[in-house]
Amino acid sequence: MKRVGIVGAGGISRTHADRWSRMPGIDLAGFYDIVEDAALGAVQRSGGKVFSSLNELFDAVDYVDVCTPGTAHIGPVVAALEAGLPTVCEKPLANSVADCEQIVDAAERTGTPLFVAQVVRFFPQFAKAKQVLDSGAIGAPGVIRTVRSGSYPDAGSAWRKGLAITSYYADFAKSGGVLLDLSIHDIDYQRWCFGEIERVFARGMMFAGKEPKDHALLTMRFANGAVGHIEGSWAYPRGRSSTRIEIAGTGGIIEWDSRARQPVDIAIAQDDGSLASSSSSPTAPQHDPYYAELAHFVSCVEAEEPFLVTPYDGLMAVKVSRAAIESLETGRAVTIS
């Protein structure tokens, strides 16, 4: 039985705790959060104990899962690596390139496994699209477009409203807005598909004073000559979120749209005469992407195999996100160094 300790008790922490709780061979030891009440709430929901310090948590666990906001990754991640504890770090690896570089250095120096939770690589439709691309079915890479758009992440569910993280997202100086918090998923995915990114140009609302709304459109050029487009949004009308993949090559194209027909469609008449309709796309529990990424972490650590996402991948995704923000500020294309 391996014990996992979670640092940070906000939104993604809850998602990870749920997955750890149902993973065979894993004991969720508990939580540490600088806000002790938050850790207590997490323990009441998910079990384990409240740790009063990072060191107390490190002493009690085999693996560390850092789910703090990106500005607060460097401390616990570097400490966990120095303690020799294999570590999961929620994306983005950190909010600044400098922090990311220090974390990558710490991972290299200590040789401790560090997995960056770029979860989109574990979404089955995204993983399958990469597999089809790699099979050569659409020829050589040409244009990749992805969309990740929804409303501001404050009230997806009531419990979230009171969390500090909710205002954190709206503080773009900290969260980096959609470009760093949301579109980093697509930057990492597109880089995974098409290789290194040479330059990026962005337009968006990050500095338009519309917080918490944000919306950005990125264009990218890859080292292999291919191009990419990303839409990321916290400005869509609530209930009209959209995720899309389109990968075009010299011999074909791959498309997926979250808004296409779903495998389960339910329409039930209500007593007041209205219609309650819903649709869903269920998958087996082990294919849940959050479960799959954490199971991947455990299985790679145990087998001493490399992760699908390396610390360097985490660093590069942040570099490109930061370059996109710089492009917004300067109005110029930014070359990735």
């Binding site: 039985m1 993973m23 065979p24 061979g25 690589r121 574990f122 089955p124 439709q125 993983a127 399958k128 699209a129 990469k130 597999q131 089809v132 079915a137 659409i138 020829g139 993949i245 011999g251 074909g252 194209i253 791959i254 498309e255 997926w256 027909r261 779903q262 495998p263 389960v264 469609d265 339910i266 329409a267 039930i268 008449a269 219609l275 869903s280 796309s281 269920p282 998958t283 087996a284 082990q286 294919h287 479960y291 799959a292 199971a295 991947h296 455990v298 299985s299 790679c300 145990e302 699908l308």
Partner: protein
């Protein structure tokens, strides 16, 4: 990309499984998931087709057996049988008593008497007989079952279903080996799902069966429209036709529309797709990314052996579904509904 399986804390007791024939293409999928499971050993492959068996055995680096007896001598815990339909019976009867569990491809057999003999022989010998109905492990189907059980629809009136396919060719169109064409091939999946979801039986079936309607010269039925009455009062239809041409984006479907007093629930078990247009293929294809029911089926089979429990889908389930297909052929002959 392979997604890592979860690991169990203690190492699991080894389960040795032999694959008996790759005549049915589902065998490749079963063996794929089998070899990914912890504590499962693929002990060898028997196939009466030397080239096919030898090639697949080499691919998985396991021994190839030209005779089923040779593979049965390998101290197997489980046997997976994916031969031509008519050869299920001799293989199951031969393996009964030699292994703890058998997973037999659907349909159970080509005749009810063969099916009954398989069930009897397995029961006498203490071998558990499971029939391969992977659609029970499809997440959209499982969601439908849970919705139906919640009672949200109120009284249920009717079920409209399809299990379309592409014309598979090979032995599937040889009446001696397959027992029939599209009707026997595609009746049993959906009938099994209906029996499982509602815990009921088909009591009457009427069928219009079409021979060579879509594939001139095929020599066997390629179209089937079944109209059925269930013991619980629900009526419905099932389209089993091999009506998906090579230019179609996908092989076929499993769709179930359930209408009740409060509303409608529609599922399309294979509607989790990337649309892949390929110049080489000359068409747009659906590439499914949903959870494959075969994974759950094979895991359930191995768990049955390990736990020594009864099969979740047993020989009787296989036989009841086969009887509906056979009754459909009889109905089509007589142009009358047939009682079961």
């Amino acid at each position: 990309m392979e997604i890592a399986e979860s690991r169990s804390p203690e190492s699991l007791p080894e389960v040795r499984v032999g694959m008996f024939s790759f005549a049915h293409m589902h065998a490749a999928s079963y063996v794929h998931f089998l070899t990914q499971m912890e504590g499962v050993t693929l002990a060898g492959i028997y196939d009466d087709d030397y080239d096919r068996g030898g090639r697949i055995a080499a691919q998985f680096n396991v021994p190839y057996f030209r005779r089923s007896e040779g593979l049965l001598d390998q101290e197997l815990d489980g046997a997976i049988i994916c031969s031509e339909n008519a050869l299920h019976a001799p293989l199951v009867i031969q393996a009964a008593g030699r292994v703890r569990g058998i997973l037999c491809e659907k349909p159970i057999a080509t005749t009810a008497s063969d099916g009954q003999a398989m069930i009897d022989r397995c029961r006498e010998s203490g071998t558990k007989l499971q029939i391969a109905f992977p659609m029970r492990f499809s997440p959209p189907v499982m969601e439908l079952k849970s919705q139906v059980e919640s009672g949200v629809l109120g009284e249920i009136y009717s079920i409209k279903t399809t299990n379309h396919g592409s014309m598979p060719g090979r032995w599937f169109v040889d009446a001696k080996l397959a027992g029939g064409g599209a009707v026997i091939d595609h009746t049993v999946h959906v009938v099994d799902l209906i029996r499982w979801i509602w815990g009921t039986e088909v009591v009457e079936v009427y069928a219009e069966v079409g021979r060579e309607l879509l594939h001139p010269g095929l020599g066997i039925d390629d179209v089937g429209l079944l109209s059925f009455q269930l013991a619980n009062g629900i009526f419905g239809t099932l389209d089993t036709s091999w009506s998906r041409p090579p230019s179609y984006p996908t092989w076929g479907d499993v769709k179930i529309d359930v209408l009740g007093e409060n509303g409608l629930i529609c599922i399309d078990a294979f509607e989790q797709n990337l649309h892949v247009s390929s110049d080489e293929a000359g068409k747009t294809s659906d590439v499914n990314w949903g959870s494959n029911g075969d994974e759950g089926l094979v895991a359930d089979f191995v768990a049955m052996i390990r736990e020594g429990r009864e099969p979740s889908v047993d020989g009787e389930d296989g036989l009841r579904a086969l009887e509906v297909a056979l009754a459909a052929y009889e109905s089509a002959e007589r142009a009358e509904p047939v009682k079961l």
